[in-house]
Amino acid sequence: MSSPSVSTTGSINGKLRLATVWLAGCSGCHMSFLDLDEWLIELADCMDMVFSPVASDSKEYPQDVDLCLVEGGVANSDNLALILQVRARTRLLVSFGDCALSANVPGMRNMLGGAEPVLRRGYLELADDSGVMPHAPGIVPELLPQVLPLHEVVPVDFYLPGCPPSAARIRAFLEPLLRGEAPLMEGAEMIRFG
C-alpha cells in the first residue's frame, strides 16, 4: 500500500475532521473506540468529530471529512446510500473492524439464498400469526441479497481488522495519522482478525 498522508484542508481551525459511521455491525468497534478512555480527552484537542452516531448530533454526513472509520458491512439500501456519500466526501476511508473487512458474522446469511429466508424466519415463523412483514419504502430500508464488505462497494484507503480492533490498536493506528504519517499496518498487533 502506498503511504497516503492526511491533509486537513477541510478544517477551518487546523484540526483533523474525523467521522465515524456504522453500517451492519454490532457497534462493538465503536465501543472499542470509546475504550480509548482518557485518550479521547487528548484526541479532542487535535480533531473535530464532525459525524458519529455515538458522539455527534449531525444528521447529514458533511463535506471535506479527513478521516472516517466505517464499522460494519453493507447490508441494506440505507447502508449503500450512506457509504457512497461517505466515500464521495472523505479523503481517507478506513475499513474499521472485521465486519467492514469481510462482512463477518452478518455475512453468515450470505449462504442462505438472499434476504427472503431470514426475513421469513424472523417475522412470519417466529412471531404471532398476523402474517405481517416489515415493508415501508423510504422509511424501512430493504435488505440487500448479500452483506458486502466495504471494499466490494467503494475504494478503501486503510484496513483496520479486529472483532473489535482493540483500543490499543486503534490508538496505534490514529497516532501517526494525527502527525500526518501513514500507520505501519503489519504484525499480529495490527492486522490480526478476531
Binding site: W22, L23, A24, G25, C26, S27, G28, C29, H30, M31, S32, L34, D35, D37, E38, L40, I41, A44, M49, P53, V54, A55, S56, D57, S58, K59, E60, Y61, P62, A75, N76, S77, D78, N79, A81, L82, V105, P106, M108, R109, L112, P117, V118, L119, R121, G122, L126, A127, D128, S130, V132, M133, P134, A136, I139, V140, L143, P164, S166, A167
Partner: protein, 487 residues
C-alpha cells in the same frame, strides 16, 4: 437555522428525524400532524435486521455464546450469559458455585459500563449542555470541553466496568468466557485486588452523578420528568429471594402500574406460551407482549426502571436508600420513563455494592469453575437481565448439539410500544396546532424520549442505515410540498 416553511392550511404533514443520534443502533422517527396541525401520533422506526435467528441454525450450541455476542458490542456479556445459561440446561448440569459468582461479577461489570455509557456519553449532554444547545457540540466531546471533571469521571466509570470484564474474560468486548457449564478460567487474586483498588473512585463518581442529577430533577428537568413517557403500563423483570433486585437468576415477575403482582414466577422454560411477538410493517423491531392480555393491554416495560419497580428492595444499604428516595419522588411504581436515567445511576450504585461484596467472598478465587457434560436436554431457555431488560435465548438442538431452532427475545424490543407512546407524548407536548416553526431543540427532545430507554437496536433486531435528517411537508395526498435538511 431557517424556519420551517409554513404549510398550506389544511395540509397533513410528516416530520422525519433521520437518523436518531446518540442511541445505539439505526432508527428514524416520524411525527404525523393532522390537518389542523395537531400531533396525531409518532412512530419509532428501527431500520436494521441481521437475521441471527436463521443463520445460527446448524451451528453447535457451544458456539452460540461467541456468535450471539456479536449481536451487540455494548452488551455482549448479556448474550454470553443467556447463551451459557441455555447451554447449562442443555448439558443438564448445576454449575460450580464460584462460576455462578463469577458470572454475576461479569454481569454487574457490564451493567456499570453500559449504564455509564448511556448516562454520561449519550444522554448527559442533553441535561448538562442543554436540549437547545449547539447540536455540533451536544455530545461527549462537547461535555469534555464544558465540564471536563464530570466527563473524565464518566469515562473512567465506564472504564472500570470494561476493565473488570477484561480481567475476567481476557478482553473488553466479545470475551467468550462464559460457557455452557460455567466459565473458562478462575479469577486471579491479583486481578481481584486491582479491581478493589478502584472501587472507591467508582463510588465517588456515582454519588456525585446522583447528586447532580437529582438536583436537576428538582429544578430544570421537572418538566421532562412529567412529560417524557409518563403513562401507566405493566413492568416485568427478574426478582431474587424475598422479591429482591436481581440481574442474573431468579423468578420472572410481572406487575401492573400500581404495583399489584399480575404473575409471579412465570414459567421461563415455556416462555413462548407466555410471551408473543407482534409485527408492524413500519419497523424491523417486533412488539413482544404478555400473551394472556393481548398486544396492547399486555405490553410491558423492562430495564432499569422496571427492575426497580418489580423488586421489593435492592438488598444493599446505599442503593436501598436511593431506591426509597426514588419512590418518594415517583411513587411506589414509577411510571415516568424519564426516571430510567435515575434508575440507571441507582443500579450502578447497587452493582458497585454487589461487586464489593463478591470480591470479599472467600470462594471468589476458587479454581473449580466449570462442569462438563454432553447433550442431555434438547430444548432449553436461558434468561438473564441485560442492562436494558430481560433477555431470553431459546434453543432446540439435535442429539449432536447442533441448533435446530433459535428464538431470541431481546430486552429493547419489549420497550417498543412504550418508546412509541413516549415520543408521541413528547411531540404532543411540544408541538402545538398551528405552529409554523419546528425548532431543532424540539426534535432533540423527541429523540431524547428514545434515549430514556437506552435502546440497543443491534440487539433488538439483530443490520443498519443512516441518512441525513430531513423534514418533509406532505400534502393531503402524500405529495411533497416542501422539504428541509438539518445538518
Amino acid at each position: 437555522m431557517e424556519p420551517t416553511p409554513t404549510p398550506p392550511a389544511g395540509a397533513r404533514r410528516t416530520i422525519l428525524i433521520d437518523p436518531v443520534t446518540r442511541i445505539e443502533g439505526h432508527a428514524k422517527i416520524t411525527i404525523h400532524l393532522g390537518e389542523n396541525g395537531a400531533v396525531e401520533g409518532a412512530r419509532f422506526h428501527v431500520t436494521e435486521y441481521r437475521g441471527f435467528e436463521r443463520f445460527c441454525e446448524g451451528r453447535p450450541f457451544t458456539e452460540m455464546a461467541a456468535i450471539t455476542a456479536r449481536i451487540c458490542g455494548i452488551c455482549p456479556v448479556s448474550h454470553l450469559l443467556a447463551a451459557a445459561k441455555t447451554g447449562d440446561r442443555i448439558l443438564s448440569v448445576t454449575i460450580p458455585p464460584t462460576a455462578v459468582k463469577l458470572r454475576r461479577l461479569l454481569n454487574l461489570a457490564q451493567i456499570i459500563q453500559s449504564h455509564a455509557l448511556s448516562f454520561f456519553h449519550l444522554s448527559s449532554p442533553d441535561f448538562l449542555l442543554g436540549w437547545d444547545s449547539d447540536p455540533a457540540k451536544r455530545n461527549i466531546f462537547g461535555l469534555i470541553a464544558a465540564d471536563p471533571e464530570l466527563a473524565r469521571g464518566g469515562i473512567r466509570l465506564r472504564q472500570f466496568g470494561q476493565e473488570l470484564i477484561e480481567r475476567l474474560g481476557g478482553r473488553k468486548i466479545h470475551a467468550a468466557w462464559a460457557v455452557p457449564g460455567g466459565v473458562r478460567s478462575p479469577l486471579d487474586p491479583a486481578d481481584r485486588e486491582a479491581i478493589q483498588a478502584r472501587l472507591s473512585e467508582a463510588f465517588a463518581t456515582t454519588n456525585a452523578a446522583l447528586d447532580r442529577f437529582k438536583g436537576l430533577l428538582d429544578g430544570p428537568l421537572a418538566v421532562e420528568a412529567a412529560t417524557f413517557g409518563c403513562f401507566p403500563s405493566l413492568f416485568m423483570g427478574l426478582v431474587g429471594a424475598d422479591g429482591r433486585w436481581e440481574h442474573y437468576d431468579g423468578d420472572l415477575r410481572l406487575i401492573d402500574a400500581v404495583g399489584a403482582v399480575l404473575a409471579e414466577a412465570l414459567p421461563q422454560q415455556q416462555i413462548s406460551e407466555v410471551l408473543a411477538e407482534a409485527v408492524e410493517p413500519w419497523t424491523y423491531l417486533k412488539f413482544p407482549y404478555y400473551r394472556p392480555l393481548g398486544p396492547e393491554a399486555g405490553s410491558y416495560r423492562v430495564g432499569p426502571l422496571a427492575r426497580l419497580n418489580v423488586c421489593t428492595r435492592i438488598g444493599t444499604e446505599r442503593a436501598d436508600a436511593e431506591l426509597l428516595e426514588l419512590r418518594q419522588r415517583g411513587g411506589r411504581v414509577v411510571t415516568s420513563s424519564f426516571y430510567y436515567h435515575l434508575a440507571r445511576l441507582i443500579e450502578i450504585l447497587a452493582a458497585l455494592e454487589a461487586i464489593e461484596a463478591l470480591l470479599d467472598d472467600p470462594e471468589i478465587c476458587t479454581r473449580h469453575v466449570r462442569a462438563h457434560a454432553g447433550v442431555n436436554t434438547f430444548e432449553a431457555v436461558g434468561v438473564s437481565e441485560a442492562p436494558r431488560g430481560t433477555l431470553f435465548h431459546h434453543y432446540r438442538v439435535d442429539a449432536n448439539g447442533l441448533i435446530e431452532a433459535v428464538n431470541l427475545i431481546i430486552a429493547t424490543g419489549q420497550n417498543n410500544r412504550a418508546m412509541n407512546l413516549t415520543i408521541t407524548q413528547i411531540a404532543r407536548t411540544y408541538i402545538q396546532p398551528g405552529q409554523s416553526e419546528i425548532a431543532e431543540g424540539l426534535l432533540n427532545r423527541v429523540e431524547a424520549g428514545i434515549r430514556c430507554f437506552d435502546p440497543c437496536l443491534s440487539c433488538s433486531t439483530h443490520a443498519a442505515g443512516q441518512m441525513p435528517l430531513h423534514v418533509q411537508l406532505l400534502g393531503p395526498g402524500g405529495e411533497l410540498l416542501s422539504e428541509r435538511w438539518r445538518d
